[in-house]
Symmetry: C2
Subunit: 112 residues, 2 copies
């Protein structure tokens, strides 16, 4: 990517937000991030209804969070049935101690 | 608030991101959200170094996530010592089954 991408969070957003928290051994954090980066770039972002994936690394080394946005829950669920997406997710799952994906709505946004 | 607020996630962001995942009984999800909304509006957003709080409700009723941004880790840690902030956090803690706060860096952002 030549330019930094920007994701926005707003109260009125109609997106379905997937927050997936991976618990990971610190020695696997980097490899898990690489798997998720590759999955996002090569598969996820080309799927219908994909809006954004935002990968986060905890500073203590024990977590990776994917904060992802889909146009709606159906688009997210359709992704789960995509063989290429599943292949990457299965690889991520083997690197993580556990992972907890949930769909969310943005309830409120607060600024200074 | 008269206007919708917008939070941005970018790779180059210098913010410290706190992602706090609360596990909650579905019958307490609404009350927990209200405690966190009040805390964000009345206390957090007035503290030095606060950037944003973004409250999310899982559609299955079992999680609340606060995706919060601080100017740096020191500002977040100073908040932990603030008595008014602690009072709200203690109330949130009694409503949750568990909560898992971690500090994160934004590793990558992917769009279509």
């Amino acid at each position: 990517m030549t330019q930094p991408q920007t994701t926005t969070i707003t109260e009125q957003a109609s997106v379905a937000t997937l927050i997936n928290v991976f618990t990971v051994e610190p020695e696997h954090q980097r490899e898990l991030l690489n798997v998720l980066i590759t999955a996002s770039e090569e598969v996820m972002r080309h799927l219908p209804g994909f809006v954004s994936a935002n990968l986060h690394a905890s500073t203590d080394g024990t977590r990776v969070v994917n904060y992802a946005q889909w146009e709606n829950a159906e688009a997210f669920e359709a992704m789960l049935g995509n063989p290429a997406a599943r292949e990457h997710m299965d690889r991520a799952a083997t690197l993580a101690v556990q992972f907890e994906p949930h769909l969310y709505v943005v309830e409120s946004v607060h600024h200074q």
